[in-house]
């Protein structure tokens, strides 16, 4: 993991003092609310439905035990004993007081953390594949460039006042687990087929929200040393040319859509030509310095298969289910990446208590080289676990209510906080997620359904990624009541697709039954080995729409 040097540390400490000064000047009236609002947002502080909310950056989702324990401490002292892991690999506290925020930031700085640019119209926290560095299908660990981008984008003087937020995601794997195509910029590490040189494919203009757009290829191959100067050109073109007349049309995806990918490319290349110089290249020494922090840990040499785990599985059906669903194939023989589901049936997706954070910290320290990852699916990964240790880890998780064996299944539901917390929401998300999880709680039923993603947003801004759920649920207001629009066929991965609307909105209580009908169509019409999304692609919208209509008609 990356560790701060004296410069990183000083910058974060100075930023804390700067924020404290901004709060003081707000209270004295030197800063108006209009001036202060973007300043507090750029430091992750929102004013939500019931209280302030503080969003803490977890750069590319990577945490170590000391950081998790500090988050638990903050939750206990300054919040209500829990936190919420978000779809952008961050952590949110729902109840901080403005007067306490400088102290909280100080505690974060003590463990090399911050809230810099977790909101506001600037470059946001860089996200990455949560299996970075360990995935069997990975070409190169993307975290060194994620860290490079974190530094480059932090307090960038030119890009603090963009037309709108700007999100970057990176991956180095074949399978896209970082949802590159829904980001303003996606960076994929690739090898140039001609020269065998390692560099980047750059995607641009993806996004969800009220106008979902699929990211397009801006550059097929960018040499390694040009990454920052090229992105500087992208950001400058966006800052100068992006729309400022309408905040709903201010994301770069709209600019790309309006002038076209070829015109954007021409502008970026022109700007890049002006910026490109050895002085602006990524310094190979600096890149090597950062990359060294992400060298693989000292793995033991182990056999491929763990007899110990096999025996334990044979004796414990729950452990067997956990192994089947929550383990991911590791690069290193005898190891696995273990996902801790923050989706116990009936709980708020992504929430963890301070006690659970400490439990996870202990497990990370003892079994995973002191490392944990936050996933955009709102779960936690222990990335370097010996297969031999899985039974012991599972025993602890089960005792702490963290052993739910549902990763990638119908109850592994992604949901934004919705109107239970969020001031922008038009409807609640969490109760819908809870009701669906309860409805599909039976493990046998979940297994029968197989790979299935439900994603729920409480408003059009789509923090719950509803467009790219196999089933997407969007909470809206209809005639003074909460109403839920349901889409089908979304896919965040290689076969990236936005979902299609199934029919009119439903009240919350009918959502589980409607999804049940859709699932029934799949179960009755699937071919052997066919997943839900594959069956949907083969069958098309019609049979699902017909089944859905039976429920919708009952309301009408």
């Amino acid at each position: 993991m990356y560790r701060y040097d004296e410069f990183d540390e000083r910058l974060v400490r100075e930023r804390v003092a700067q924020f404290a000064s901004q709060v003081e000047r707000r209270l004295s009236g030197a800063l108006t609310e209009e001036e202060f609002r973007p300043l507090r947002l750029k430091n992750g502080l929102y004013l939500q439905l019931h209280a302030y909310m503080l969003r803490i950056a977890v750069p590319y989702g990577t945490l170590h035990a000391r950081q998790l324990r500090q988050l638990a401490h903050i939750a206990d002292v300054y919040d209500r004993g829990y936190g919420h892991f978000t779809t952008r690999q961050n952590l949110q506290f729902n109840w901080p007081k403005l007067k306490d925020v400088p102290a909280i930031l100080g505690l974060l700085a003590d463990v090399e953390m911050h809230c810099i640019q977790t909101s506001g119209n600037c470059i946001r926290n860089v996200t990455a594949d949560h299996f970075s560095g360990v995935a069997h299908d990975e070409f190169e660990d993307p975290r060194p460039i994620a860290e490079l981008l974190r530094q480059w984008s932090s307090l960038h003087p030119e890009f603090e006042w963009l037309g709108r937020k700007f999100k970057i995601a990176v991956t180095g794997a074949t399978q896209d687990r970082a949802v590159l195509k829904s980001h303003d910029v996606g960076v994929r590490i690739v090898r140039d087929p001609a020269t065998q040189q390692v560099g980047y494919q750059i995607l641009i203009g993806g996004g969800l929200g009220r106008t979902p757009m699929v990211g397009k290829v801006l550059r097929e191959f960018l040499p390694r040393e040009k990454l920052l100067s090229y992105l500087e050109a992208v950001l400058r073109v966006y800052n100068l040319e992006g729309r400022r007349d309408n905040k709903y049309k201010a994301r770069i995806k709209i600019l790309v859509h309006e002038i076209g990918i070829d015109a954007i490319r021409a502008k970026v290349e022109e700007e890049f030509a002006a910026i490109d110089s050895p002085r602006n290249d990524v310094d190979p020494q600096e890149f090597a310095r950062i990359a060294a922090f992400f060298a693989p840990p000292a793995y033991e040499s182990l056999p491929d298969v763990s007899r110990k785990l096999e025996q334990a599985q044979a004796a414990d059906a729950e452990l067997a289910r956990f192994v089947e669903h929550n383990l991911f194939r590791h690069k290193q023989r005898g190891y696995t990446a273990l996902t801790i589901s923050l989706k116990p049936i009936g709980q708020a997706p992504g929430d963890a208590t301070s006690h659970q954070m400490r439990v996870i910290a202990d497990l990370a320290e003892k079994y995973s080289f002191d490392e944990a990852r936050v996933t955009h699916m709102q779960n936690i990964v222990l990335p370097h676990v010996r297969l031999d240790d899985v039974p012991e880890i599972f025993a602890v998780l089960r005792a702490e209510g963290l052993g739910t064996p549902n990763v990638g299944l119908v109850t592994d539901i992604l949901a934004c906080p919705g109107l239970d917390y969020c001031a922008l929401a038009t409807a609640r998300s969490i109760p819908v997620a809870q009701a669906l999880a309860e409805h599909f709680a039976d493990p046998a039923k979940q297994k029968e359904i197989g790979d299935f993603s439900i994603k729920i947003s409480g408003c059009i801004n789509a923090c719950g990624h509803h467009h790219i759920g196999n089933i997407g649920i969007l909470g809206l207001e209809k005639k003074g009541a909460e109403s839920y629009q349901i889409t089908i066929g979304g896919d965040p991965g290689e076969n990236y697709a936005l979902g299609e609307l199934l029919g009119p909105g439903l009240p919350a209580e009918l959502v589980p039954e409607a999804i049940d009908r859709v699932v029934a169509v799949y179960l009755s019409q699937r071919e052997p080995g066919e997943s839900f999304i594959e069956a949907y692609r083969r069958l098309g919208l019609a049979p699902f729409k017909a089944a859905f209509k039976e429920i919708a008609d009952a309301v009408a």
């Binding site: 990183d8 100075e14 030197a30 003087p157 603090e160 400058r236 002085r279």
Partner: protein
């Protein structure tokens, strides 16, 4: 209006046209639309121009040698196009004075300077809430940057390079 540079409050030797008229004893700042006409009559005397933040650098480039000052208007504090425009003007070789003109607030001062502005000109309403001391204090709150500041060479990257060099030198001495 309050005019500031890195050192603090500054007497303005320039003046925007008032009702289309120049102010005696001051170098005039004319709107871009009037620039050609002004150049035709001013006979080589110093001149400034006021531009909107959506002007193209290419439009101004032919005048780089003749302009003593370019003032970029900030319609609001949240509209950051002027920062990129300033950067671009500097990278394309403008060496005269660059002024940010509009309701910026003190926390944006270091950002403006880093992007190549020399000075900011803020309306009285802003200056009443944020006196000169606030602007000077803002300038020094964050003493480090990952990015190269315009005209300065002390980014964190440079400091890291220097640190490595020093370590290597010390290592060499010890051998």
């Amino acid at each position: 209006m309050l005019l500031l540079d890195r050192q603090g409050e500054k007497v303005d030797s320039f003046a925007h046209l008032q009702d289309g008229e120049k102010i005696a004893g001051k170098t005039p700042i004319v709107p871009l639309a009037a620039l050609e006409a002004e150049l035709a009559v001013q006979g080589g005397a110093p001149l400034g121009v006021l531009v909107e933040n959506n002007v193209r650098t290419a439009e101004l480039e032919p005048y780089f040698g003749t302009l003593a000052l370019i003032a970029i208007r900030f319609p609001s504090a949240a509209d950051g196009r002027g920062f990129s425009l300033a950067r671009q003007l500097r990278e394309h070789g403008f060496t005269g004075l660059l002024r940010a003109s509009g309701p910026l607030f003190s926390d944006q001062f270091p950002q403006a300077l880093a992007c190549g502005f020399d000075e900011v000109e803020i309306p009285d309403a802003s200056a009443a809430r944020q006196p000169v001391e606030h602007w000077l204090a803002a300038r020094n709150r964050i003493t480090l940057a990952y990015q190269h500041e315009h005209g300065l060479g002390e980014s964190i990257l440079d400091l890291r390079r220097a640190r490595t060099l020093e370590k290597n030198l010390n290592g060499a001495k010890n051998v």
